[in-house]
């Protein structure tokens, strides 16, 4: 059997990559993709814990299902907002959307 640490490391790497992407990318679309990566890491964590530690209940698996669904909804919503911003400014770069400071 594969030890649980392998899955947790994978989850942590995905989460870390996502966080790095959020901090380093300037396009709103790429930031959204990076957030998806973070959520994928979370789902792997939940599934690993559910199948190794909590085998007679399904709370972790259901949690992962909901995380996936909510993430899809969030991307749909955020893309709508990006679209509105693009109509107003012809850009989806978050650095150029900075009318407000401090």
């Amino acid at each position: 059997m594969i030890p649980i640490e392998y899955f947790l490391t994978l989850g942590a790497i995905l989460f870390g990559l996502g966080l790095f992407g959020v901090l380093s990318r300037r396009s709103a679309i790429l930031i959204l993709m990076a957030i998806e990566l973070m959520l994928a890491g979370v789902s792997i964590n939940f599934i690993a814990f559910a199948s190794y530690l909590d085998t007679d209940a399904f709370s972790g698996l259901i949690f992962a299902l909901f995380v996936i669904t909510v993430a899809a909804a969030e991307v749909g919503l955020a893309l709508g907002i990006v679209l509105r911003l693009f109509r107003e400014r012809r850009t989806s770069n978050v650095d150029e959307a900075s009318d407000m400071r401090w």
């Binding site: 957030i35 979370v42 909590d54 919503l77 955020a78 907002i81 407000m100």
Partner: protein, 491 residues
């Protein structure tokens, strides 16, 4: 009904009636608004339906005040839940009545806007009543998603889209870290029910301190973002400035109160056995929030940004009291937080509704545009002054009474250092509140001293809030009794 383990499940839907009613009405409002041309209905129908739904839900919540039952082990309807249900419904009700002129004039998609406000209220109510991690998470997202859209609905304001984008991107990162934290807690305890987590954690050392600490830090990051705690507050001033003013008020009242409710449920419940692990993190966050919030407010020129930083400062005081919850003074500190929360919300709504009416008349939101308001509208100037003085904690107003109770509860829990910082920060805050008052009373109006009046609903809401400000300031017993009962339901 029984679950897969053969344990009985209580599926008493009556417990959820306030939420169900609000959901149905929000769908009705959105649906009717979509077909208003075909059905040929007047523009007043959406707001009427929204108000009707809120009144019905408020009545149902008041009828359930003495309940203490769980729904399918997901939602607990107790006195704590009832306190927040009534609070949240009342906030939305007052906001809609007080600023419907603004909403009709300066918000695009009016019907959807009302529907979103109702949905956000449901999310906030569920956040206060969840007794299981997944339910709490979904409630957080219901509140946040509704607000992401509502922030972007200011008509012909370029700042609105930018504010919403910043809010949704940072909010996504915050939810992801919150979820990672929750997965760690789930991994350590193998449970998502609050009472099971609490049982596992209080049973003793799980031998897994590192994942537990990581989980705690990430949960504090995620919730701290929703509560605008420093250093996760960067979205707050931008979202507040770009949003339509009623949404700003909603963000500063319901969204903050719901996050504090969740803080109390989690840190006073499942995470209480490991209080010594999170107390020092949370005290650091509380001190940073009080100091940064109040200091940066000093240099603001826009009233919405000023109020944003002021609400960050106020969150710091409440986070400080949550540290006190961990010191074994749970019931006292919780009741103090609830009293302060209620007082803060009454005051903040008064200020925001007054600012809304000022904007309706003048179309401006800079602090310097308040010049001479004492001459052109003495009533509104008095309302704003009373609200700002109460936020600063001046005696005779509710802000003094609630802040006194809050600080006293934290001192008796033995956190004298925190309270010292809070008192200094609170003194600093008086300066920037007075800057606004100075503009109104010491300067001549720039464009003539022409008098103007508020609308009838404007007078009714501001006067009602002003009266409760003064009455609770002089005689706070009913507020204190309600908060005590709510806190008793939790401990």
């Amino acid at each position: 009904m029984t679950d897969i383990f053969g344990q009985t499940l209580n599926l008493n839907y009556v417990l959820l009636l306030p939420e169900i009613v609000l959901l149905i009405f929000s769908m009705l409002v959105i649906g009717i608004d979509a077909f208003k041309r075909q059905l040929n209905i007047s523009g007043n129908v959406p707001v009427g339906l929204a108000l009707a739904g809120l009144v019905v839900a408020l009545t149902l919540s008041i009828l359930q005040v003495n309940m203490d039952e769980d729904f399918a082990r997901l939602i607990q309807v107790d006195s704590f839940t009832s306190f927040f249900r009534i609070l949240f419904i009342a906030i939305t009700l007052v906001l809609i009545v007080g600023s419907h002129e603004y909403i009709e004039k300066s918000v695009s998609h009016v019907g959807e806007f009302y529907g979103l406000l109702l949905l956000a209220t449901v999310g906030a109510m569920l956040m206060a009543s969840a007794r299981e991690l997944l339910t709490a998470y979904l409630a957080i997202e219901l509140l946040s998603f509704s607000l992401y859209i509502a922030v972007s609905l200011a008509r012909s304001d370029r700042r609105s889209g930018e504010a919403s984008l910043k809010y949704v991107l940072l909010g996504g990162v915050a939810s992801a870290s919150l979820l990672y934290g929750l997965s760690m807690i789930y991994g350590v305890t193998g449970a998502t029910q609050y009472h099971e987590i609490s049982a596992v954690l209080s049973a003793g050392d799980t031998g897994l301190t590192t994942p537990l600490l990581l989980g705690l830090v990430l949960i504090i990051v995620g919730l701290g973002f929703k509560a605008s705690a420093v250093p996760f507050h960067m979205w707050t001033p931008d979202a507040y400035e770009g949003a339509p003013i009623p949404v700003t008020a909603f963000l500063s009242a319901t969204s903050k109160a719901a996050t504090i409710a969740l803080f109390l449920r989690w840190f006073g419940g499942p995470l209480l056995p490991i209080a010594s692990d999170w107390q020092f993190i949370l005290s650091g966050v509380a001190v940073a929030t009080m100091v940064v919030g109040n200091l940066v407010a000093l240099q603001q020129v826009n009233i919405k940004r000023l109020l944003a930083y002021s609400s960050i400062g106020q969150m710091g005081y409440m986070l400080m009291a949550i540290v006190a919850v961990g010191s074994g003074f749970g019931s006292d500190a919780t009741s103090a937080v609830l009293v302060h929360l209620a007082g803060y919300i009454i005051t903040n709504l008064l200020v925001f509704i007054s600012v809304t009416h000022f904007f309706n008349q003048t179309g401006q939101e800079e602090i310097t545009s308040f010049k001479g308001l004492a001459q052109s509208n003495p009533y509104l100037a008095l309302m704003i002054t009373a609200g700002l003085f109460s936020l600063a904690g001046m005696p005779l107003l509710v802000g003094f009474f609630t802040k006194f109770i809050l600080f006293q509860a934290v001192v008796s829990a033995g956190h004298l250092g925190l309270v010292t910082v809070a008192v200094v920060a609170s003194t600093v805050s008086l300066y920037y509140y007075l800057m606004v008052v100075r503009q109104m009373y010491l300067y001549e109006p720039e464009d003539g001293t022409e008098q103007w009046r508020l609308s009838l609903t404007g007078y009714v809401t501001t006067l009602a809030l002003f009266v409760s400000l003064v009455v609770f300031g002089l005689w706070g017993t009913p507020l204190y009794a309600a908060a005590d009962a709510a806190a008793a339901g939790m401990f």
